[in-house]
């Protein structure tokens, strides 16, 4: 990583990253992709999010579904760990709770591939600063 | 300095800023009780962790009560030291402390001198409403000090002494919550710690958690054994403090009464460690002159400064902390340990008895002496040169237990030949005294001239580290003095770093020297007591007809009769020692 030499270079970098991030979610953008976020804080990992993370990474690629799988911190839904958030391009993010590899498989096959509505969705009840 | 005006219990106090409420209250005649707080005024020793919470007071506008010992005055403050809220809190806190304290006052070594006991009396506690589990710990007995920390109230005074003043680091708080207590690291025995047995922890402990190992029973048994000749020696600082145990004013000299009491106790010969102190000066002074002369001649191997070696706590300290410098201190034994072989190898032979049938008892202001006399190098075929060392406090108890009315005793004189001493040896008991005594003799031996002015006032006082230059007839001799091991550490570090300018240094482990020793009557934080003891010793010195060690006729006779010359072969064998590296083995489990 290059050293940021001024507020200007920081701002430029931020804009670049913002644009890249925005592109990911835009429906018809050629750079858009499915985004999967797996909660990997201590609580998530302790309830089994690591196998889910590995499963998502491996299986999405095996099944030829282009997706960006990343780890994130706690989403706050401790009672439903492991939780994952799936964002389909152009759509709002959906959070699933109590995800194990079996559930993850169902999310890939039914929610991501077929766009079906499936159980286990946690309502998003917050706004972010 | 800025002055602060505040109101305490309706009285207006005017004190300098940064004064504690405790001291401010004293200025208007209000004495707030304290327990963990401890101060030796003018000696730079203070303990105010704010832990016991007995001194809490109400400060108007403040949510909770404030510890008076640790809260500074502020302009316009309104303080209440004895309203119902404060009284209830103070009493409840004391009741809590008592609820975790063994009620063993009847048999406790500290009974009568216990600050917790007197606090309970002062506050009129007649029952303990909050009963419950008491914290229990392993009892620990070392050669000199007993730790019975069931009685520890976490005042942390010992910890302050051991760490801040002495920089020994043997004691610290361990564990937490209800089981928190002051102990050596890993709760090992004191014997496994770098403890020097200086006994300063014992001298400040408010309760019976830290006390000396009591050898008076062994002494009683020896006195009762007709086959034994029992000889006693008394250290200089004892005579300046023993009277306190019998209600006499601090600073009262009780030399004659002490001798009379010892004789009544049944000792066959009552001798004086002062005699051995004169002997120490002969040996140590000669060693100093020898090293100095060789140094002045350009001998590169000679080590200066020379350090005194008569304090056993100090010897333990450098063996633990500066073992690589153990060639620097004088090899002369301490007076106690010079007395032993002279008694058993010289006097016993004179009497025609086997050394094993002679018991030598020492009366010391010190607890480290108990350890010193047990050292292997001070034994012959397992027979110690000094059999038992009693503290000033133990002697007082022995006298009280033997139906002796101390104050009405006549004044007696020491026996001869080992009871004759000079003024020089008397001042061994206070900081600066040993080096002053050494100067009196070294001056005359070095210059060959008579010393007209015997008092070296520049070497006296209570400052932590002192230095003075003494004129040896044109040769300036730089003298350093430290009392308290933390101060000694500073001087030693200077020597190690090549920064020391001194030719000779006197070091005493205890603040004030032996008069402030760990075996002395409890001063309860009153530094005036220590000062009065010092002035008593200087008074005794001034009144002595002979005030230079090398003029003691019995010393001269001893050399002529038995030893030959100072630092000669016989002296080397009987009166000198060597030191050990004790840095390893600390906190190591066997």
């Amino acid at each position: 990583m290059a050293i940021l030499e001024s507020i200007k270079s920081l701002t430029e970098l931020r804009e670049k990253l913002k644009a890249k991030q925005a592109a990911l979610s835009q429906k018809d953008n050629p750079q858009s992709t499915i985004q999967v976020k797996v909660t990997m804080a201590t609580c998530g990992i302790a309830s089994g999010s690591r196998p889910v993370y590995d499963f998502m990474k491996e299986e999405l690629s095996k099944r030829n579904i282009p997706a960006l799988v990343s780890q994130v911190g706690c989403m706050g839904f401790c009672y439903a760990e492991p939780t994952i958030e799936v964002t389909m391009p152009g759509k709002s993010p959906v959070i699933f709770g109590f995800v194990n590899t079996k559930k993850a498989d169902e999310i890939i096959e039914r929610f991501i591939r077929k766009g079906e509505v499936i159980d286990g969705v946690i309502p998003m009840n917050y706004e972010t600063a | 300095m800025k002055t602060i005006k505040l109101i305490i219990d309706g009285k207006t106090a005017e004190v300098p800023e940064n004064t504690t409420l405790l001291k401010a209250a004293k200025t208007v005649g209000i004495d707030i009780p304290t327990l963990c707080y401890f101060e030796l005024k003018d000696m730079n020793i203070e303990n105010r962790p704010g832990g016991c919470r007995v001194c809490v007071v109400e400060v108007k506008g403040r949510r909770n009560l404030a510890p008076a010992c640790n809260t500074m005055v502020a302009e316009g403050m309104e303080v209440y030291t004895h309203n119902i809220r404060v009284l209830n809190a103070r009493r409840t806190v004391l009741e809590l402390i008592l609820s975790d304290h063994p009620a063993e006052c009847l048999t406790c070594a500290k009974s009568g001198s216990c600050e917790l006991q007197s606090m309970a009396q002062q506050l009129g506690v007649r029952e303990i409403p909050y009963q419950g589990e008491q914290s229990k710990y392993r009892k620990d007995t070392s050669p000199a000090i007993i730790r019975d920390v069931d009685k520890c109230i976490m005042c942390r005074r010992c910890e302050m002494m051991c760490n801040d003043v002495q920089t020994v680091g043997a004691l610290n708080a361990v564990n937490r919550g209800f089981m928190a207590v002051v102990a050596p690291a890993f709760e090992m025995n004191l014997e496994k710690s770098p403890c020097t047995y200086c006994g300063q922890c014992v001298s400040v402990c408010p309760t019976g958690a830290l006390t000396e190992v009591d050898h008076s029973r062994n002494v009683i048994n020896a006195l009762a054994d007709p086959a034994k000749t029992v000889v006693v020696q008394t250290a200089p600082a004892v005579r300046a403090a023993l009277g306190e145990e019998f209600g006499l004013a601090p600073g009262t000299l009780v030399t004659g009464k002490m001798v009379a009491a010892l004789r009544r106790l049944g000792f066959d010969y009552v001798f004086d460690t002062d005699f051995a102190a004169d002997l120490t000066i002969m040996e140590e002074g000669t060693e100093l002159l020898d090293r100095l002369t060789r140094y002045l001649k350009g001998d590169k191997d000679v080590k200066l400064p020379i350090l005194t070696s008569c304090c056993p706590g100090w010897v333990n300290f450098f063996e633990h902390n500066f073992p690589e410098m153990r060639e620097i201190p004088s090899t002369a034994k301490s007076p106690q340990q010079m007395f032993g072989p002279i008694a058993k190898e010289y006097f016993a032979k004179k009497l025609g008895i086997n050394r094993k049938n002679m018991i030598v008892v020492s009366i010391m202001p010190c607890l480290a002496k108990k350890y010193e006399c047990q050292r292997d190098e001070f034994k012959v075929d397992g027979d110690p040169d000094v059999n038992f060392s009693l503290s000033t406090r133990e002697l007082a108890h022995l006298i009280k237990a033997s139906n002796i009315d101390f104050s009405s005793l006549p004044e007696d004189d020491f026996d001869n030949p080992l009871g004759e001493s000079t003024g020089a040896s008397v001042i061994f008991g206070t900081t600066g005294g040993v080096i002053e005594a050494a100067c009196r003799t070294a001056y005359e031996l070095y210059t060959g001239k008579k010393l007209e002015k015997v008092d070296f006032k520049e070497l006296r006082g209570l400052e932590n580290v002192r230095h003075a230059t003494i004129d040896f007839d044109g040769l300036p001799i730089n003298i350093g003095i430290a009392h308290g091991l933390g101060n000694a550490r500073k001087l030693l570090e200077d020597i190690r770093d090549g920064k020391s300018q001194f030719h000779a240094i006197e070091i005493m482990a205890c603040p004030g020297g032996c008069i402030g020793g760990g075996g002395q009557p409890y001063h309860h934080g009153d530094s005036e007591v220590i000062k009065l003891r010092a002035s008593a010793l200087y008074r005794e010195d001034a009144g002595k007809p002979i005030r230079k060690s090398h003029e003691n006729p019995f010393i001269l006779e001893l050399y002529k009769d038995f030893l030959g010359k100072p630092c000669g072969e016989k002296s080397h064998h009987l009166l000198h020692t060597h030191y050990f590296d004790k840095s390893a083995g600390v906190f190591v489990e066997e």
Binding site: R14, K37, T128 | G51, I153, V181
Partner: protein
């Protein structure tokens, strides 16, 4: 429907905490850049003061004021300390922030360094938080590589670097003076304040100690302006507060709500109500230092001052919900047990007093209490609060006082009727055989681990109360519901 507003948690669960780019893409380090290039330290402190941000570690001291005090003390060296020694039972918001958004804390500490004149920051974190430590280390490495931490930050000439110090998990080391002693390698115990750390702290130098959540708020306040922040919350408590919801609540988890949200909204709307549809009994806020809020407090807006008025406190934000199955005497005993374990032992009221409180509560829960014991609890609690050296002892009796205040009836039942209505205090329970239902199958007798049940086959069995250890095995095994608890 009450909504959460996530300020401190803004990036948690959103960004990959191990990628600085993710943080930057969400305006990360913009606050630092603005501060370093456009604002004077005094101006930043002014923004913070106007924002009304108060310390989130429990005390609620105005953050801007603390920064100002530290700034005004003259010294050759100052320190910024992040208190990440989260120790309240059931509180884990600091861990979540450090694991989910470590850069936010680094950025805020650097801003603090600029404002106070410190060039060195220290994060005091529990060694039990290994993932948080790892993520902090990764974040520190990344920000140093990008010139956002270390020497000459953003080429402005400002130097600031951060080190990590580990705590061994002592609760009392969350108290700032104890924390500082622990960092100095000394025994982790508090000393009397003043001097406050802002004046004389780490290595006797002025030290600004703030909690993780407090720091996490700072960059947003700079970026969005104090007016925005001050528009959220109540008159004296601005912004949001993160709560760790735990206990008998459906949606156990981390929530961040504006100050002034009511307990009812937090529990029923955000937390999804009580488990099993049972009745709400109390909520403990402030952990072992706090007190319990009851039904009458359900509609009280939660902020620093209201909680104190209700006999509790904000604390670090643990919120433990209790239902009708919880015995309030046992709850008080639970918290006292924690305090007894965690007291450092320095001052006598906390060391011995809390132990005695615990013993009295034990006596009462065992059915041996007297009315006098309740008086003793009251007096002792008051004295411990009034005389203890640090915040631990000054607040440890709160659970006792607040349960006595709100649930005196339960205490009386334990003492007078020897009864625990929640059937929690085992000593007061009796397992009894209902003769009408017992068919004498002997199953209970065969399963009793202490042979306390006697009775011939096909005859009514009897439980020897002297022998019974109240394990409940008999009741569990009985197929005829013939065993009941009295």
């Amino acid at each position: 429907m009450a909504r959460q507003i996530r300020i401190a948690l803004r990036n948690c669960g959103v960004i990959d905490p191990e990628r600085i780019e993710d943080y930057i893409s969400r305006d990360g380090y913009m606050a630092l850049a603005t501060v370093l290039t456009e604002l004077s330290p005094e101006a930043v402190i002014e923004i913070l003061k106007k924002s009304g941000l108060r310390g989130r570690g429990g005390g609620g001291f105005p953050a801007g004021l603390k920064w100002e005090i530290t700034r005004k003390v003259q010294a050759d060296q100052k320190y910024v300390v992040c208190n990440a020694d989260e120790g309240d039972p059931g509180a884990f918001m600091d861990r979540s922030i450090l694991e989910g958004d470590p850069h936010a804390v680094l950025e805020a500490m650097t801003i603090n360094g600029y404002c106070t004149g410190a060039s060195k920051g220290l994060i005091y974190i529990r060694a039990e938080y290994p993932l948080a430590v790892e993520r902090l280390k990764t974040a520190m490495k990344q920000s140093r590589e990008m010139g956002l931490l270390g020497n000459n930050i953003l080429q402005t000439g400002f130097n600031f670097d951060i080190d990590i110090r580990y705590g061994a998990g002592a609760f009392v080391c969350g108290e700032e003076t104890a924390l500082i002693h622990s960092m100095e390698g000394l025994r982790g115990e508090p000393t009397v304040k003043p001097p406050f750390p802002s004046v004389e702290g780490y290595l006797k130098k002025p030290t600004n100690v703030n909690n993780v959540e407090t720091f996490a708020n700072v960059p947003v306040i700079i970026n969005k302006g104090w007016e925005w922040f001050a528009s959220i919350g109540t008159e004296k408590s601005k912004g949001t507060k993160v709560f760790a919801l735990a206990g008998k609540i459906n949606n156990v988890g981390l929530v961040e709500v504006p100050m002034g949200t009511t307990l009812r909204e937090v529990i029923y709307e955000i937390g999804g109500g009580i488990q099993g549809g049972k009745e709400f009994k109390a909520a403990q806020t402030g952990g072992p230092s706090g007190g319990c809020l009851t039904k009458k407090h359900l509609d009280t807006p939660i902020d620093y001052d209201n909680l104190i008025a209700a006999g509790s406190m904000m604390g670090s934000g643990g919120l433990i919900v209790m239902d009708e199955d919880d015995c309030m005497v046992a709850i008080a005993k639970f918290y006292l047990g924690f305090t007894v374990e965690e007291s450092c032992g320095k001052c006598s009221p906390c060391r011995i007093g809390n132990k005695r409180l615990f013993e009295l509560l034990e006596k009462i829960t065992q059915g041996n209490g007297t009315m006098e014991d309740i008086d003793k609890l009251r007096n002792l609690s008051t004295v411990i609060k009034d005389t203890s050296l640090c915040g631990l002892g000054q607040s440890s009796p709160n659970p006792v006082l607040s349960t006595i205040e709100n649930f005196i009836g339960e205490y009386h039942e334990h003492v007078k009727d020897k009864k625990c209505r929640s059937k929690v205090c085992k000593s007061m329970m009796q397992y009894l055989v209902v003769p009408e239902k017992c068919i004498g199958c002997t199953l209970c007798a065969r399963n009793c681990p202490v042979n306390a049940i006697s009775g011939e086959r096909k005859q009514v069995h009897l439980i020897d109360q002297e022998k019974c250890i109240k394990c409940g095995a008999c009741m569990e095994k009985c197929k005829f519901n013939a065993i009941i608890i009295n």
